[in-house]
């Protein structure tokens, strides 16, 4: 089997067509993918069972692989087949893709690696180079060109959670607010398009998806006050040209603009779109979440209005960006209870539904054709709001709206019951498997400067503590029956879980924790079936795929990422420790 052919090292980027270059691309290709079948829209929607073509498997984002070679009877025989070190200079929350026996992995700082998915052999690595001194001094016509990498506000550590594959390209969104197309065969940069000005804080941590031939990305970095807002864009995948841009904040003159009170545009912050969306090809709608308003607390923000379209699910037409509907989960949210996360598309009794869960731990079921509320299941770990089971309307409990400088005892903490660690749905068990973090905090919200460049989340004095119902555990995998919302089982650990859940046709749930332990659970009853310790914290999105009839499970590990990844274990489980390096992808299979 040959998936590669040698080409000279240090290949030039001769097909560059940069629109606004921050970094001169330096793709260090070592080989190229020889046998590559272009990925079509039909393949994305219905991928072959052994492929993993979207960040959560399919556009419906189930996090489910139908592969069943590895099951509850043999999972205890899993062996490490190969491991590959990933870039360690930033944060890793990798969601790999697999196509044609090749694994494509995003890691920190824009690095993308292509590996033979069966052997782990390196095929190519794309690594953006920093701008040269000559380039910086050239004045190149833009103020951004004189900046060194990272010399802009609020970028983080180069997280790129997911990438997309379509046609013959791998698509990535960058920490410098650009999108890139990289030739999937060679690893060479095809084009790069600047989408927003990173000096204002704009950047990407979520990657793109492809929906009905349009490349869609959601921007983040909208916490600081500026004369513009967050948005989602659609692009031509051939050229990167922007087709449409939909703001995620209602401007003063827009419908819903009054939900921010009389705040001018510059003080309407937040609504970041920092988790990739889902796509229903029949409805021709993409579903994308938005984050909470900034600053977090109403009293600091200066309005107690609903603040559209923050903390909402948006249904957009991928052809033109038109908003078909929106559902705001927590109007006027005021404690950093984000609802931006993954949207899981499931048809329940013939009704096309969308499921999602935010930091509060409420499992929402919406009609994904209309946006109508169907059901909400509060899993019972929060003390902040009440949910009307008929309307889905949230109301704050007495005393739970923060006041400036006054301590508030809240469950969860700003870390949330759930965060970016995506849940998975199995059609075999009709269950949702949810990575839960058990925690509470005594928080005091403070003021910020209301001026351009100011704002942000607002300062919070925090004192985290264990959830009273946790028995000292931080981590829980919760299995909920769909659609009833009844608890099927719980599996708890001292360490918090730090990856998405993966479920398979073999009746298994794979998940990894902060304390280096990767586990396989029985999807029916939560029984622990297999464990292994890895180099450092499990972190990212595990996947399953097959090559030549053999099933593999891949688990990314790494550090950095969302803040609690360090703070909660350090404060509440201080006896645990993990190395602060060791980012890698680890692949397991049954013995040959």
């Amino acid at each position: 089997m040959s998936r590669r052919s040698a080409i000279p090292h240090g290949s030039s980027t001769s097909i560059l067509s940069l629109v606004f270059p921050f970094a001169l691309a330096a793709s260090v290709s070592q080989a190229q993918v020889e046998e590559f079948t272009p990925v079509t829209d039909a393949m994305l929607v219905n991928p072959p069972s052994g492929e993993w073509l979207s960040w959560r498997g399919t556009p419906a984002a189930w996090g489910y692989s139908p592969l069943d070679q590895i099951d509850s009877s043999n999972v205890n025989q899993l062996q490490l087949k190969w491991s590959f070190a990933l870039d360690d200079t930033g944060a890793i929350q990798a969601a790999p893709l697999v196509h044609g026996g090749v694994m494509f992995i995003p890691s920190a700082r824009g690095v993308i690696t292509a590996l033979d998915a069966a052997s782990g052999d390196l095929l190519w690595e794309y690594r953006p180079a920093p701008p040269t001194e000559e380039f910086i001094n050239s004045g190149a016509g833009t103020r951004a060109a004189v900046l060194l990498p990272g010399a802009f506000a609020g970028v983080g550590r180069g997280v790129q959670k997911n990438i997309a594959i379509y046609g013959e390209m791998i698509y990535a969104a960058t920490e410098t607010a650009s999108i890139r197309a990289i030739d999937a065969r060679s690893g060479l940069l095809a084009w790069e398009t600047q989408v927003a000005d990173p000096t204002l804080g704009y950047h990407y941590t979520a990657g793109p998806i492809v929906a009905n031939g349009t490349l869609v990305t959601g921007i983040t970095g909208c916490d600081r006050y500026k004369e513009d807002v967050c948005f989602i864009t659609g692009h031509d995948p051939q050229t990167g040209a922007e087709k449409w841009r939909t703001a995620t904040v209602a401007r003063p003159e827009d419908p819903g603009g009054d939900t921010w009170g009389d705040l001018p545009l510059r003080f309407r912050a937040g609504s970041d779109a920092w988790v990739a969306g889902s796509f229903d090809p029949e409805a021709n709608l993409i579903y994308w979440g938005t984050a909470q308003a900034k600053p977090w607390a109403r009293v600091v923000r200066g309005t107690d209005g609903d603040a559209l379209y923050t903390n909402s699910t948006l249904a957009l037409n991928p052809d033109n960006g038109n908003m078909a509907w929106y559902f705001q989960h927590i109007p006027g949210e005021t404690q950093d209870m984000d609802e931006v996360f993954e949207n899981i598309l499931i048809d329940v009794d013939g009704r096309k539904s969308l499921f999602k869960m935010g930091k509060l731990g409420i499992l929402w079921q919406l009609d994904r054709e209309t946006g109508e509320f169907i059901k909400g299941t509060d899993i019972g770990y929060q003390n902040i709001v009440n949910l009307d089971p008929i309307t889905g309307r949230i109301t704050y409990r007495d005393g739970m709206i923060p006041r400036l400088g006054e301590e508030l005892d809240m469950c969860p903490s700003t870390s949330g019951v759930k965060s970016w660690r995506a849940m998975a749905y199995s059609p075999d068990t009709s269950a949702m498997y949810i990575p839960i973090t058990l925690n509470c905090a005594r928080n005091t919200f403070g003021p910020t400067e209301r001026a351009l460049g100011g704002g942000g989340t607002g300062p919070v004095r925090r004192s985290n503590y264990h959830h009273p119902d946790s028995d000292g555990n931080l981590g829980e995998v919760l299995a909920l029956d769909i659609p009833s919302g009844e608890v099927k089982w719980r599996y708890r650990t001292r360490a918090p879980f730090n990856t998405a859940a993966l479920t398979t046709g073999g009746g298994l749930v794979f998940i990894g924790d902060w304390n280096r332990t990767m586990s396989a659970l029985d999807a029916d009853n939560g029984d622990l079936l297999w464990q292994v310790r890895l180099a450092t914290s499990n972190q990212g999105f595990p996947i399953s795929y097959s090559v030549d009839g053999k099933q593999y499970i891949a688990m990314p590990v790494g550090t950095g990422g969302a803040s609690w990844s360090g703070s909660l274990p350090r404060e509440l489980a201080p006896e645990l420790s993990r190395p602060n390096n060791g980012s890698s992808i680890n692949v397991f299979a049954l013995p040959d």
């Binding site: 944060a91 506000a153 970028v155 400067e449």
Partner: protein, 140 residues
């Protein structure tokens, strides 16, 4: 006359005692507890190790608190420079806490103090936690 001399002597003695007592009091953050050169070194360390999360203007982002202005004072007013130094030294950078030298950490602290308007002085701040613990972060 003798009484006057004694009273004068007593006053001088009292003044000297008060001055000595004042000298032994905890140093103020407004006394110039770091040097400008040190803050300049700290800026270089900040740009390498801290900027990508806390921003060029130290304003922070969704996952990293701001280190200047109202937000910084809300979080740190009334706490000691030693506590701030220990927090940074033990937890930062979050991907590899403790990877900098003590000198680098204390230089970064001096840079952050400078950006918050606390004045520099002639002396270099040392990574001496017990001494830094006696310096309170306080408005003037």
């Amino acid at each position: 006359m003798t009484r006057i001399l004694l009273s004068t002597f007593s006053l001088l003695l009292l003044s000297a005692t008060q001055a000595l007592s004042h000298a032994q009091e905890a140093p103020s953050i407004w006394d110039g507890i770091y040097s400008a050169e040190q803050a300049s070194r700290g800026e270089a360390v900040y740009r390498e190790a801290c900027l990508s999360c806390h921003g060029q203007d130290l304003g922070g982002n969704s996952n990293s608190p701001g280190l200047v202005g109202m937000g910084f004072m809300f979080l740190w007013e009334g706490r000691s420079v030693g506590e701030f130094y220990e927090k940074i030294r033990s937890e930062m950078p979050t991907d590899r806490p403790g990877r900098l030298s003590d000198k680098d950490y204390v230089d970064v602290v001096s840079y952050i103090l400078q950006k918050n308007g606390f004045p520099s002085g002639d002396s270099t701040m040392q990574p001496d936690v017990s001494r830094l613990d006696s310096v309170e972060i306080a408005p003037q």
